[in-house]
Symmetry: C2
Subunit: 806 residues, 2 copies
């Protein structure tokens, strides 16, 4: 192929600010040496050293997932061979995997629930007995110490596991799943030891009396299960699959299953299968894929179903499925609301938004402090224990001081705690403090009016608010839903009590209703989720009457909260510098063109590339995708200013040397032919698919998609591949392996257009070409995410943001 | 810009079958002269004339909607001027529009419901009185004639309106909305007279005793309302908006609002706000847009809310919102199911799938017959009346013969019909036949065991099945949900009766439960919707306990039904030759490349194009998008075979004439610069933006995005624009108006890749370029859809399909 070109295309966009463009590459170096733990990121950063908040840094630690199929010749030939029967088999396998994901997630959720309930029961029973005994014998420090000891030991075990075995299991797991579904490879997030740590850790955390929920960890567990099963990592499956699951070893398939797993987790945790589907879609799906959504729904349903069957056995009514999922808010059947109450709900939404923003603000300050000073492993364990002891102490003190006694009622079936009350009375404070968080929540929703005094509720709220704020971010698996709901239900009920005080005798004032709305408002104010959260809360309440009020408070809470800061998950994600792509680009960005966003200059490979250059580039460039070009000489190009371009090696024997003026047009890097991935190059180097070997044709022909797939997901690092000096002079023909149909954008494409392309198709990088199809740069996910992270530092203009974010 | 090129690139794909490629353009001519009525399509086709089923023809009548923004210089400059305040205002307006969409949809749904109930009540009251009177006086022909007369007149009015005013209002409207959301412009689908016809027509249809539902028309109404409000067509809004709604006059914005309207319609019809959102997403959304989904949800909620408030006033309990939406299945609270029943549900799903496939088969045969023979307007009206009279007669006969009398119970509050029964008894047959369809359905779900004899149920099922099958496709607005549910509830209950007969005394056999499952199975077997339908049924039953069984039966019914034919909506869509894109490409298509799919040769414009050529092409080519190229001479290219390619008009004064051999490489059409739309060209011609006018610069500068937007959505036809012969020699510079960032695909891109791009980004056409960025063809939505429609003619291979589908 011959091409004589004299190119002096004028660019439409302004490229004069060369520094800005070439600076882009720094992103790859920031923090790129840290691969151990997510939370070690900013160790080297001295406090106050920089004016730029560290949320602005996009960490180099996180790779992106690649959802774009590489449609090279190998893939094409595999596809041609594939029969319809084979395709049906794969489709069937997808359903089968989803089935097992649902079943296992249901079992794991049941196990967590069962363990938590029994550990807590054991603890409470023991402490209660001591209290009953000690009230008479003046030995109240005994039950306190027992309680503290119990909590401390459990939390110690959980923290130990988390810190030493798998730090990524800390927290709720939702941020990590969110990142994964968004397309970021968070290290270790779907490993076996992660789920082990998560499950044991969360049992310890909830059993240890921390104000944490088990719902987030259940969602994370579902995701890990899905990743595990789909990759055939369990020996049981590998024995039986006869290589079928091998087809699922791509980022795309794996993410699809993880979506299903996360949905199954939500479904199991809240008994909300539809909410689970919407959660996965909201967080993950870029392109609404009907078949996939249907399978996700299936996994959700199966998960609820399994859970219900297990719990029907627990309740000795085998196969009786009338009881809904694990965690629900109890029946609100009798209550209703009037349209006139909507302004009241809006006020509650505002309160929720404000309190949520405050919670997030305090928590993020604390987290930054923690990242700076609590960096040793053992201090992390100690901190977790401290929080456990503190929580226990506060609860105990609260119980002792605020001895809110009520007369025992006949309709109370469950065990109530007498505590420091007289005989025939029970302590209403104990009913919310001396219980699992889920039970406390139900009490706040459903106890009769008059059960809790206003003061009790107020103090309870403040205590839970502060301790939960301290707890989230500890090195413990810990969900945030339940504490948020508890805070909200507390002040919501208080709100109802106040309303009743102001408008006495009004029948429409139902404390439970306000507790529910408050809980929703608080949760919305903290996590700022919208659609899926509405549906989850609706499904948890078990009826759709409250749909509109819940939606309104969540919406108002989000709007109010967003005036101050982001949702807590997003804040934690940005603190770690994860390149998360938002839903939509900022609208003011529509006048930013590809040429301003892209990384430039860009490292390219020629269609026939020398082994030596490949090895060198792979060693020194952290990039994962490279454009493959023709008509480009990397060595001549380096002499910039006036570029000497050589077009050679052609059959027609026309050699033309052209002088390209770099002024007026951007530097170009040859005509775009396709893209090739680092992982593919490594396989090519390992398999020695070099042109100069006499049997190279054979090697090339014998290389199949399977060779590339087998290496997934952990590719050999480049320095472990031995290449002899002689081999370095060989060349590889990249044409059969590159993706010739890769998407490209032109240099005048706007930021929103590129964003949409990335978001909708799940891309990792897209080459930028000029009108002649010459590569001028490459836009990566991180280039886009960089614009996003600097969003909440209001005063800067977009241009400044761009510079400061590097 | 100069470029000397000698291009002999080899194509990777086989292009030897030239006939095949050039035949592609025929698609634009098929039926392109018919613009009047959707149902006139195949008038010219003689029966048996062709071997190819007419579903295979993609009609030229349907334009596609364009969701891709044209990011030309005008747009860019408008975006640059846009302040953040302005953006917030637009965002606020979006919410406001959605609010009004919800409110109005709720009102319209209430109006339909109110009218139907009152018209039916009037009729039944009158007939009942006559029956009671005539049983004694032996004048039973009198009530019969009154009934028939009443039905006949109502249906006559409805059919008259539909046939003469707006034929597109016939049927349920769901296929049309589905097409619109999919990106096909069905003519008149969102017009004012459509909603008028729909609303009045459906009241007549249901009031006239046809076996039709009002739910589909409600969904359609919501969509029309959304389109109307968002475009500021109502004078009320135009007065107050100060030009803000003008921003919404693009296909993208309009479709977004229509999604919201459709969701609001579902929400109002079934009291299923979440189901509504999922319906819109399932049918429409390509790219999951968080903000949009949230707004759709808002519209849904507001719609249910409005409806509830209206109905609270109707029930004289103003603002009491404890009652759920319009149509629900009544409370199933007491029933439950056991896991062991799941095989039974699967069997029911199979039955539903089989019966659904049968229903669709008969209906489509009937529709084809109807399209051939019932082509006169008056015969259509007569047919509708015939069906009405037939339905009445069958019901009356059935009532008379099958006089299934039961003793009156004390707990029956509502009016029951004595009919031909003794005093103290009531006719259970009348309770399902002599009622609105919704009430009949609730009776089938909730009446006590023993109310209906097996024989009654069986005959009822068959009657409804046949009449409903005949009814759907009449020129009447008519929903399909309710008749499907009635059929299913009938045989479901029968199934329960049979089970009870086989396993007498089993407590788990609840007739209502089996009626519900049967209804779901039948509905699933007919419409083959999945996710949204599950959620709609779940929300209509008001609890989530039945989630899994409903999902399973819907899934099984779909799978079984899909073995025989498609869902009824899809069949009707394909019968009309609408280029609907499915969810996913057929998996076997992954080895088809862009070069095989694309239309070729392609009509292109040069960046500076003569007015005469533009006018000629617009007059003779029905295309809507054209690539804009450089280095191309349309007149020389016409001499095919050996193509003489001239690269000229350059500053460097290098003219090169190259001989391009067309063998081995495809013909190319110059270097791709951007795309331009027909609508844009027409505006340019109208505004006379010609280079040769002395003030052309001024004209060009003064043209703004607004000029293009004002022309939306009905552009002047080309023959109404007067161009003088002198003006024909002028040129237009297309560069500022074309979309320079338009997406392209390379000729080696696979079918699924292009499909995904179209689906995810809502494209209408995408130019195909070769490695040198030269245009080689264009892929339109219709090119893709053509592969899809031939899906159910199993024996043909893909290649054959391709040919026969033209």
């Amino acid at each position: 192929m011959t091409k004589i070109s004299f190119d002096n295309t004028k660019f439409l966009i302004n490229l004069s600010d060369d520094d800005q463009l070439s600076d882009n590459r720094n992103e790859y170096d920031v923090n790129s040496t840290q691969h151990d733990s997510i939370n070690d990121d900013s160790d080297q950063q001295e406090p106050g050293q920089s004016e730029i908040p560290d949320e602005n840094i996009i960490s180099g630690e996180y790779e992106s997932l690649d959802y774009d199929l590489c449609e090279n010749i190998l893939y094409q030939s595999e596809e041609k061979k594939r029969s319809r029967r084979n395709l049906i088999k794969i489709e069937f396998m997808r359903w089968l995997v989803m089935f097992f994901v649902g079943v296992l997630t249901g079992f794991v959720a049941s196990f967590i629930d069962y363990s938590v309930v029994h550990v807590s029961d054991l603890k409470f029973k023991y402490v209660r007995r001591f209290v009953d005994n000690c009230v008479e014998n003046y030995c109240l420090e005994q039950p306190y110490l027992i309680w503290i000891g119990f909590n401390g030991i459990l939390v110690f075990v959980g923290a130990l596991l988390t810190v030493y075995l798998e730090p990524v299991a800390a927290g709720s797991g939702i941020p990590q799943i969110k990142c994964y579904l968004n397309g970021v490879k968070v290290p270790h997030v779907v490993r076996l030891q992660t789920i082990f740590t998560k499950v044991v850790g969360v049992i310890c955390a909830v059993g240890g009396g921390l104000f944490v929920g088990k719902e987030g960890p259940m969602i994370h567990s579902g995701a890990v299960i899905a990743a595990g099963i789909s990759q055939g990592k369990l020996n049981f499956f590998r024995k039986f699959d006869f290589g079928i699951f091998e087809f699922f070893r791509t980022d795309t398939e794996k993410r699809d299953f993880v979506s299903g797993g996360a949905a199954a987790g939500v479904s199991a945790a809240f008994g909300a299968p539809v909410g689970g589907v919407l959660f996965s879609l909201e967080e993950g799906a870029s392109f609404w894929n009907q078949g996939l959504t249907w399978r996700i729904f299936f996994a959700s349903m199966i998960s609820t179903f399994t859970l219900n069957i297990v719990s029907s056995y627990m309740r000795d009514h085998p196969w009786d499925l009338s009881y809904p999922g694990l965690f629900n808010f109890g029946s609100f059947d009798t209550t209703t609301y009037s349209g006139i109450e909507i302004p009241i709900f809006i006020v509650m939404g505002i309160i929720g938004g404000l309190l949520g923003a405050l919670f997030n603000h305090i928590n993020i300050k604390l987290t930054k402090y923690r990242r700076k000073y609590i960096t040793n492993k053992w201090t992390r364990v100690v901190e977790a224990m401290m929080v456990a002891i503190m929580t226990g102490t506060i609860s105990y003190l609260f119980l002792y001081i605020n001895n809110d006694c009520k007369a025992m009622r006949h309709d109370q079936e469950e065990v109530t705690s007498q505590f420091f009350c007289n005989d025939g009375e029970y302590s209403s404070t104990a009913s919310i403090l001396f219980n699992t968080p889920e039970e406390s929540l139900k009490k706040l929703f459903h106890e009769k009016p008059g059960t809790y005094q206003a003061g009790t509720l107020a103090v309870y709220c403040i205590c839970v608010f502060l301790t939960a704020c301290w707890t989230y971010g500890l090195f413990m698996p810990s969900g945030l839903f339940i504490p948020s709901l508890l805070i909200g239900a507390g002040w919501g009920r208080l709100f109802g009590v106040m309303l009743n005080y102001m408008f006495p005798g009004q029948t429409w004032i139902d404390f439970g209703k306000y507790a529910l709305i408050g809980a929703a408002a608080q949760l919305g104010g903290i996590v700022r989720m919208t659609i899926s959260l509405t549906v989850i809360v609706m499904e948890a309440t078990g009826n759709i009457t409250f749909g509109l009020p819940i939606m309104i408070v969540l919406m108002v809470a989000k709007w109010v909260g967003d005036l101050f800061n982001e949702g807590i998950y997003d804040m934690h994600i940005h603190l770690q510098g994860i390149p998360l792509l938002g839903w939509e680009p900022e609208p003011v960005m529509s006048n930013i063109a590809a040429a301003e966003v892209m990384s430039h200059p860009v490292t390219v490979f020629r269609t026939k590339e020398s082994v030596g250059r490949i090895v060198e580039i792979l060693k020194h460039e952290p990039h994962n995708g490279f454009p493959v070009v023709e008509d480009y000489d990397p060595f001549i190009e380096q002499a910039s200013g006036m570029n000497l371009i050589l077009f050679g090696r052609c059959r027609m024997r026309i050699f033309v040397i052209a002088l390209q003026s770099s002024e007026g047009g951007a530097e170009t890097f040859g005509t775009f032919q396709g893209t090739i991935l680092r992982s593919q190059l490594i396989v090519l180097l390992k398999k020695k698919a070099f042109e100069e070997y006499s049997d190279s044709q054979m090697i090339k022909r014998s290389l199949t998609v399977r060779d590339f797939r087998e290496a997934y997901p952990r590719f050999t690092p480049i320095h472990q591949i031995s290449i002899t000096p002689q081999e370095r002079n060989f060349t590889i023909d990249l044409t059969p392996f590159m993706n010739p149909a890769a998407y490209t954008v032109t240099d005048v494409a706007s930021f929103p257009r590129i964003f949409k392309l990335f978001r909708a198709l799940g891309l990792r990088h897209v080459p930028v070409v000029d009108k002649r199809h010459k590569v001028v740069g490459i836009v990566t996910r991180k280039d886009l995410a960089r614009y996003k992270v600097s969003r909440h530092f209001g005063t800067m203009s977009v241009g400044e943001k761009f510079i400061s974010s590097k």
